[in-house]
């Protein structure tokens, strides 16, 4: 359904609530203990040091008929690290404990916001009471939002089972279960609540214990189900400036759609090999449903098999794609070497998360840049690109496919846990406006007496791609060094020197097709450049915008192509007096920039599993200009 959307100017976006704030609304039946939940959430939020504003909204009746829309009770809280003036216009997160609560509150939720529903309450009777003709969880009523369906009723009953409460009493603990989940999502402390419950139920310790158990169970659910803590975090989406058709899109959706589009633009079927890992699995889930677009998905036995099968598919003439997160990408490293050596197209998506090892699987980080650019055995360069936002991931995925097939190379596409799960409004692209890059397989057999040479190259240095099944072009490829001319095994020192240089030069040639970079805010020659990549785009952009509004001489330079870098980047960076590089790692892009351009790029690092706050970047801008 088309609805009008308020157009937000940069001024307006600055003048309204602090963007680091989040608006959460709890809604349920008046008997569900919503106000209690909201009140306790407020308490824990205040204890966490956030400023906040709340808006309790409950029916006049003490106990309106159960399950009806007029019996819905709601509690809204807006909290954040900066000053909060209002309870927030629209919730980013809605917790709806029954269909009526959903019905009354859903339209208020921001597009792309998160709706958590207790699906255990979505029976025919409750749906009818709420006035739903069809179950909104089954059709596209909620398409504009992210929806998390949990059977909170059952999960609560399970959690409090040991305390021998009656069914009705047990279900009263639902609010505490929900609160536990909310506390997990926003990283709030449970201890004050536990103390409060013990005091409140001092005369009925079994009720205290049951409520605490429900609270802990909700919290544990968030943690063990690896629900991302990023769902609700307010992010700075691209301001919807241009008129047109919009929809919401998450990063995993955008990447999946972009890969499908990229394969189509290349004129190839896509083969996707994946292995379950948080937060990358959702790409496999999305693609598995798109078979009519020529997509074959393969859940492999491990990360290595996932990339190996993708390489096999590329050898056979499909566009091979694999996806994972840091630890899985590490496992794929050897196979990337094979794809580089055999010069086969391949797209590798890395949804970065906090590391090393299992690290922080549900939290976001940008700490795999070294791994992407440098992290392989041998001299093994491959192009690396990074998405800055959920919507941007669509174009980045297409770009990864283009480079892979035009340069016969594996390409790494970097995204992160934040982009993967976050949603933002996205102007639906006009697919006709994308330039196709159709692949032409080599199919002409050599002249009599000539041998097949699969390593013949074009002007870009990309080798020919010959599909097995093509008559007269039988050939063998492999991981052993090839003769630069014939493609046969050749260990000669001069040949390895030549081939190593050739592979590096080929990847550098990708820069010929990258547009020159310009600051996305501010001018060349300003006093300070804030250089970013990936999902730090939002906070850097807002911080630089504010600094510009305060008359500071600053610019925002944001990289999509991490390797090779845009050809003019060195010249651009040298126009600034100072360069700072905020990134969610210990200073990785900073190293790359220093290495490539000998510029004094200063690191601004954050590895807290949380995105940068605008205020944090504003502070380092002020500091750098002082």
């Amino acid at each position: 359904m088309a609805t009008a959307r308020h157009f937000v100017t940069p001024e307006e976006s600055r003048s309204t609530e602090a963007p680091e704030s989040v608006v959460v609304r709890f809604a349920g039946d008046s008997g569900d203990g919503i106000q209690l939940t909201g009140g306790q959430f407020t308490l824990s939020t205040a204890l966490a040091g956030n400023d906040l504003a709340t808006f309790p909204d409950f029916p006049a009746e003490i106990r309106a008929p159960q399950g009806t829309t007029f019996g819905v009770s709601a509690f809204q809280i807006n909290f954040g690290s900066a000053a909060i003036e209002t309870a927030g216009d629209a919730p980013d997160v809605l917790v709806a404990l029954n269909p009526a609560a959903l019905k009354v509150n859903m339209d208020a939720v921001n597009p792309g916001g998160l709706i958590i529903v207790d699906e255990g309450e979505f029976g025919a009777r409750n749906l009818a009471k709420a006035g739903f003709e069809n179950n909104p969880l089954e059709d596209d009523t909620l398409a504009r939002w992210q929806v998390m369906r949990l059977n909170i009723s059952q999960l609560t009953l399970d959690a409090v089972k040991p305390f021998g409460l009656g069914n009705k009493e047990a279900l009263r603990c639902k609010n505490m279960w929900t609160l536990g989940l909310a506390l997990w999502m926003f990283d709030r402390d449970r201890a004050p609540l536990i103390d409060w419950l013990k005091a409140k139920f001092a005369k009925a310790p079994e009720l205290a214990e049951a409520n605490i158990a429900a609270l802990n169970a909700g919290h544990a659910y968030g943690e063990t189900a690896e629900l991302s803590g990023q769902f609700a975090r307010h992010h700075i989406g691209a301001a919807p400036v241009a008129p047109g058709l919009y929809r919401t899109v998450t990063g995993v959706e955008a990447i999946s759609l972009g890969l499908v589009a990229g394969a189509k633009l290349a004129g190839l079927p896509m083969f996707f090999g994946g292995y379950p890992i948080t937060p990358a699995s959702a790409i496999l889930h999305h693609l598995a449903r798109l078979k009519e677009y020529g997509v074959t998905t393969f859940q492999a036995e491990d990360e290595i098999a996932a990339i190996a099968a993708a390489i096999g598919a590329s050898f056979a003439g499909s566009l091979g794609v694999t996806s994972s997160s840091g630890p899985g990408i590490a496992l794929k490293g050897e196979a990337m070497g094979l794809a580089i050596m055999t010069e086969l197209p391949l797209v590798i998506v890395n949804s970065q998360r906090g590391g090393p090892s299992t690290g922080l699987p549900t939290k976001t980080e940008q700490s795999d840049l070294y791994q992407a650019v440098y992290g392989r055995h041998g001299d093994a360069p491959l192009p690396v690109i990074a998405a800055r936002s959920p919507a941007d991931a669509f174009d980045c995925a297409i770009e990864a496919c283009r480079i892979a097939v035009q340069y016969m190379t594996p390409v790494m596409l970097l995204t992160d846990g934040y982009i993967a799960n976050a949603a933002e409004p996205w102007r639906v692209p006009d697919m006709a406006s994308y330039e196709p890059f159709p692949v032409a397989f080599h199919a002409t057999p050599p002249a009599e007496g000539e041998s097949v040479n699969p390593y013949v190259r074009d002007g870009k240095l990309a080798r020919v791609w010959i599909k097995p099944g093509t008559p007269g072009l039988m050939h063998r490829i492999g991981g052993i060094e090839k003769n630069a001319t014939t493609g046969h095994i050749d260990y000669a020192p001069s040949n390895h020197q030549a081939m190593t240089e050739l592979r590096a030069r080929k990847v550098l040639n990708v820069a010929d097709t990258i547009p020159p970079i310009e600051p996305c805010l501010g001018e060349a020659g300003a006093k300070l450049a804030v250089v970013g990549w990936g999902s730090t785009f939002g906070p850097i952009h807002q911080a630089v915008r504010r600094a510009l509004a305060h008359g500071r001489s600053v610019a925002h330079v944001h990289l999509r192509h991490i390797w090779p870098l845009p050809k003019n980047l060195g010249d651009l960076l040298r126009t600034y007096d100072r360069i700072i590089v905020p990134e969610m790692n210990n200073g990785q892009l900073k190293t790359l920039l220093r290495d490539q351009y000998l510029v004094d790029a200063r690191p601004v690092t954050k590895v807290a599993g949380q995105p940068f706050k605008i205020a944090e970047i504003e502070a380092v801008i002020e500091e750098a200009l002082a």
Binding site: D140, V260, A305, G478
Partner: protein, 340 residues
């Protein structure tokens, strides 16, 4: 291939110089495969040899077909991608005991359970040859090698038992130099699904004569060549296998004057999985080595199931990219941007 262009073994030999050690069993296997291909009516352009790493894995370079020499242990996974991307290709996997059962054991297991339609030729020489002679997962206890100077202590895996346990629907054994190898290869090729063939391959440098207990000329009586529908006879028909009903196991019996029926010798039924397990596990010495097609009972292949599901899921749906990106609830922004 039409009759006019009948191919020969030579047509399947590439122009590359074969570089195995003189006397290596790999030469005999290469010749057998090159000789068998024309008899299968194989089209070189639609044939793909995929290998991992090891002496055996150089094999694809010597075949005038498509070939992919990949990385250690991963040939089954790469072959899976090749076959799913183009099921018309005839895929052969060439691997060794270390490649398939140590570093690549996981992939071998999953390829077999999924039942990808391909042939897996595992050259078992019970040693790591290319890395200069370390003991392998199929080496017998006590194998002395550079890495086990006092003898290996871990028990070996039996490749065919591993295959059968992983769900393989075709399991066969052969010997590098045996005349029967082409027949086994043909049977493997005829099987629709993953066809697992263990080939005892003599490593003349690091593990010479390790299979002599049944391959040496004087021990040829220890070879039991199985044939569907025929009695399990060996040692020139003087001995056979029967079922020990007490122990529920196989037993060697003497056969007098060819009267195997009265000796109770059983007839080979390649679809009998229980007997296949027993044949594979017979200890060499008191028992013969079971060779030939031990088990052959096809089931639908992985790629056919994937293809069918892809087709069914796509049926009646248009692949309209514009519709795809426009899915879900959309809204229109009509206002022109205000100037900031």
């Amino acid at each position: 291939m039409n009759e006019m262009t009948k191919l020969t073994a030579k047509d399947f030999a590439s122009d590359q110089e074969v570089r195995w050690c003189p006397g290596c069993g790999d030469y005999a296997i290469l010749k057998a495969v090159q000789r068998t291909m024309p008899e299968l009516g194989a089209d070189p352009a639609r044939t793909v040899f995929v290998s991992g790493i090891g002496c055996s894995s150089r094999f694809p370079y010597y075949m005038e077909t498509y070939g992919f020499h990949t990385i250690h242990g991963r040939a089954p996974a790469i072959a899976t991608g090749v076959k799913l991307a183009n099921p018309d290709l005839d895929v052969w996997i060439i691997t060794g005991d270390g490649d398939a059962l140590s570093i690549g054991g996981n992939h071998t297991m999953h390829l077999l359970r999924r039942n990808l339609n391909c042939q897996i030729l595992l050259f078992n020489n019970e040693i790591y040859g290319l890395t200069k002679g370390q003991y392998s997962p199929t080496s017998r206890v006590g194998t002395r090698s550079p890495s086990t100077p006092f003898g290996s202590v871990d028990r070996p895996v039996r490749p065919c038992a591993f295959a059968l346990g992983s769900g393989a629907r075709f399991v066969a054994r052969a010997i590098d130099v045996s005349k029967q190898l082409p027949e086994v290869l043909k049977a493997a090729h005829a099987h629709q699904g993953a066809a697992f063939v263990e080939i005892f391959q003599n490593c003349i440098v690091y593990n010479d004569d390790v299979f002599a207990p049944f391959t040496a000329r004087e021990n040829s009586g220890k070879q039991l060549w199985l044939k569907a529908g025929e009695p399990m006879l060996f040692d020139n028909g003087t001995k056979g296998l029967t079922l020990d009903r007490e122990a529920l196991n196989l037993k060697v019996v003497e056969v007098a004057d060819g009267d195997w029926q009265s000796a109770g010798v059983i007839v080979h039924d390649p679809t009998n999985r229980a007997v296949a397990h027993m044949l594979i596990d017979m200890p060499i010495g008191s028992f013969p080595m079971a060779l030939g097609v031990i088990y052959d009972d096809p089931r639908p292949t992985f790629e056919s199931a994937v293809l069918r599901q892809n087709a069914e899921a796509a049926a009646g749906k248009a692949a309209d990219l514009q519709a795809l990106v426009s899915r879900g609830q959309t809204w229109e922004v009509e206002k022109e941007p205000r100037k900031a």
